[in-house]
């Protein structure tokens, strides 16, 4: 028998909550194991459904030395006995068995919380699958997806894709692969627009940001999208109120260093900085008017208006008009 080109790590820790990435890490572990031994079989068990004897059975080498991949799911819920058994095994892994431990990084009990650290210490290969929350990371993910599928994507096309598909990684990955397959591999904005239209996610804050800088067409468009997507009226109204009061608060404090003002205003420096930009063009009279509008709107979306959508649009119009007040 020839020696395999790659030997799979006998002990792997998949840490994080991003489902798609976790799924991929498990698949990668299985693939490397199959590369070493095509007969290797996969068994997935939830930790909570497992007893230490069962675990020992799963992890003992078989008579004919077939490869085996054991995936322990939801290790963050492990009880004390199981956690101890896993750590004990990790110190002396058996031959031909790949143990993959899925752990969200959280966990309620102390042993479950400390499991990742113990596995690291035992020399486990760690795959980080933390949730992707930052827009930059998401863009990087999409770019990487496209590259994996053998294509390239323009920055404008990337922005258009994320806007149209949303933030779900599975959908983004699928869309990226599909686009590469449908085009010659070079994805332009026009290509994205041909297959994807509309917006997947519009929050009240997007509406508020456009409204407070006086961008009427943009604000109304965002508002209609938000309504189309079923964003609650109250959320949009609250976001508008929050936007206006942030600008008013920062404007009333005058110009200054955002980092120094942050403490007095009770908001983070980046917010102060952004609001300072948005505050340009606002007069005290305009802000006072806008504050009345959002206060009235708050009552209207809570049942005072016959049609809350109309109330929202009217409020956006009136705030933009207040922005132009001398």
């Amino acid at each position: 028998m020839s020696a395999p080109a790659v030997t799979p790590d006998p002990l792997q820790l998949v840490l994080g909550e991003e489902e798609l990435l976790v799924e991929r890490a498990v698949r990668a572990a299985l693939d490397t194991a199959r590369a070493a031994d095509p007969q290797a079989d996969l068994s997935r068990v939830r930790v909570t459904e497992l007893t230490p004897p069962e675990l020992a059975e799963l992890l003992s080498p078989s008579l004919f030395a077939e490869g085996r991949v054991v995936v322990l799911e939801a290790a963050q819920e492990a009880g004390k006995e199981i956690a101890e058994a896993v750590v004990a095994y990790a110190k002396q892994p058996a031959d031909g068995i790949v143990l993959v431990v899925q752990h969200t990084g959280g966990g309620r009990s102390k042993v479950a919380k400390e499991l990742p650290a113990a596995l690291r210490k035992a020399g486990a290969a760690v795959v980080e699958c933390a949730k992707i929350t930052k827009p930059g990371d998401r863009d990087a993910f999409v770019r990487e997806e496209v590259r994996r599928a053998g294509g390239k994507i323009e920055p404008a096309a990337l922005a258009a894709l994320v806007e149209a598909v949303g933030s779900d990684l599975r959908e983004l990955a699928a869309a990226a692969a599909q686009l590469v397959a449908d085009t010659d591999g070079r994805i332009t904005e026009a290509e994205v627009r041909r297959y994807h239209q509309g917006k997947a996610e519009v929050t009240g804050f997007a509406v508020a940001d456009k409204t407070v800088v006086g961008d009427l067409p943009g604000a109304l468009e965002a508002l209609r999208w938000a309504m189309q997507l079923g964003v609650a009226h109250v959320l949009v109204a609250d976001a508008l109120a929050e936007g206006v009061r942030t600008v008013a608060k920062v404007a009333s404090a005058g110009r200054g260093d955002p980092f120094r003002m942050a403490g007095d205003l009770g908001m983070p420096p980046w917010k102060v900085k952004r609001a300072q930009g948005q505050a340009r063009g606002w007069t005290p009279a305009g802000l006072a008017e806008a504050m009345q509008v959002v206060a009235g709107l708050n009552a209207e979306v809570k049942g005072m208006a016959a049609d809350p959508e109309y109330a929202l649009e009217r409020a956006v119009l009136r705030i933009v008009r207040a922005h132009e007040l001398p």
């Binding site: 008013a248 009333s252 049942g303």
Partner: protein, 398 residues
């Protein structure tokens, strides 16, 4: 001392009620009475703090009074004392702590009201804040109020008999007792007599409370309440620049939030603890696990009630501040017009004069309007911070 002593400055109402109590006693004794002197449903209306619920309780005591001979409502017999203390078996008092009185609560009450009185006199149901009855709750009550059993009496209290406060259908089935704003002298007198307040402090509290007896007592006995009032009344003249708006609005909202927390904190904790114990928490031995199974749901229900109570406290406290502000702007208008009437805040006369000199009557009125619409907004469930900030902005702009 009779039960009427605490019904401050309401001679007319006391006259009607004591006549009714005499007639009721005759009814119980089986003697002939003047028809119409006693009725089965009463609606006590009057401005906040005029003592609606006190009057209702005093009337209840007079109805239950067991003193042999003499006018009803002696204040000394066991019945009078237990009614006033809220422990009489035949007197139910409904005091809404949350934002409204639910229909379920009223249905239970209607069943209670159908029972015969245990003492053989009257079964009495007092609903304080009948304006907080939801529409469904009011309808549930309707039938019982219209034709209660022989010896059942309903006493409802509401700020006014306006349809906004009490539904027309309820009002038309009740006999109305209108209380008036008690005069300052009467309030000062009761503060001295009942609460043992220094005459000077009592006089001051009675003059600034706007006819609200409870508020006068609070102001005369609670240092923190006096400080809060000071800080609220300092706002109108403190709004010089645009940047003064947010700190001042923040003061108002924070004070209300703090009051909601301090008023309910210890009570919430002990309630939660008691419920947990009742649901079997901390127990050991066989069967404890199954006993605690329903605990989470019950706890959640309790938390919901506590939250409603906290919202109510916060709103009430904000409303109090707004009423004080309104009084101040009214004083400014009065000063400006040169009318010789008593001010709402006589101790702030100097401020009112300063303001009257610099504001026009129109801008003062606009400010008054802003406070009024803020009170409405809070009623309509607008976030307090948003409503208050909008109001303070309007106060600054005039």
């Amino acid at each position: 001392m009779t039960v009427w002593a605490d019904v401050v400055g309401q001679p007319d109402a006391v006259q009607v009620l004591s006549t009714a109590a005499e007639a009721a006693a005759d009814l119980v004794a089986g003697k002939p009475t003047t028809p119409g002197a006693m009725t089965h449903a009463w609606l006590f209306t009057g401005p906040p703090g005029s003592g609606r619920s006190t009057a209702a309780k005093a009337f209840a005591a007079a109805l239950q009074c067991v003193a042999p001979g003499g006018p009803r409502g002696c204040g000394d017999c066991a019945a009078c004392r237990t009614v006033l203390a809220g422990t009489h078996a035949d007197v139910r008092v409904v005091v809404p702590e949350g934002l409204s009185i639910s229909v379920a609560e009223m249905r239970a009450l209607v069943q209670l009201a159908a029972r015969r009185p245990t003492t053989g006199r009257w079964q009495i149901v007092i609903v304080e804040d009948a304006d907080r009855l939801t529409e469904g709750a009011a309808n549930a009550l309707l039938k019982a109020v219209e034709e209660p059993p022989d010896r059942t009496v309903f006493l409802l209290c509401a700020p006014s008999d306006h349809p906004e406060d009490v539904s027309v259908t309820i009002r038309s089935r009740c006999r109305s007792i209108a209380l008036r704003t008690p005069p300052a002298a009467a309030i000062a007198e009761v503060l001295e007599r009942r609460d043992g307040v220094e005459p000077q402090l009592a006089g001051w509290a009675a003059s600034v409370c706007g006819g609200h007896i409870g508020r006068a007592r609070r102001l005369s006995t609670d240092q923190a309440a006096r400080e809060r009032r000071e800080s609220v009344l300092a706002i109108p003249l403190a709004l010089r620049r645009f940047s003064d708006i947010f700190p001042n609005a923040d003061t108002l909202v924070k004070a209300a939030e703090a009051e909601a927390v301090t008023a309910n904190e210890s009570r919430n904790a002990s309630e939660t603890e008691a419920l947990k114990t009742a649901m079997g928490a901390g127990g050991t031995g066989k069967g404890t696990a199954s006993a605690t199974r329903g605990a989470a749901g019950a706890l959640k229900e309790l938390e919901r009630r506590q939250k409603s109570r906290a919202t109510r406290t916060q709103r009430d406290s904000l409303d109090l501040a707004l009423v004080d502000l309104m009084g101040f702007y009214r004083d400014v208008l009065v000063t400006k017009s040169g009318a010789e009437v008593a001010l709402n805040h006589p101790d702030r006369a100097a401020d009112a004069t300063t303001a009257a000199a610099s504001w026009t009557a129109e801008s003062t009125l606009r400010r008054l309007e802003a406070v009024l619409s803020c009170r409405d907004a809070l009623q309509q469930n607008v976030k307090p911070r948003i409503a208050i900030e909008a109001m303070v902005t309007a106060l600054h702009r005039g």
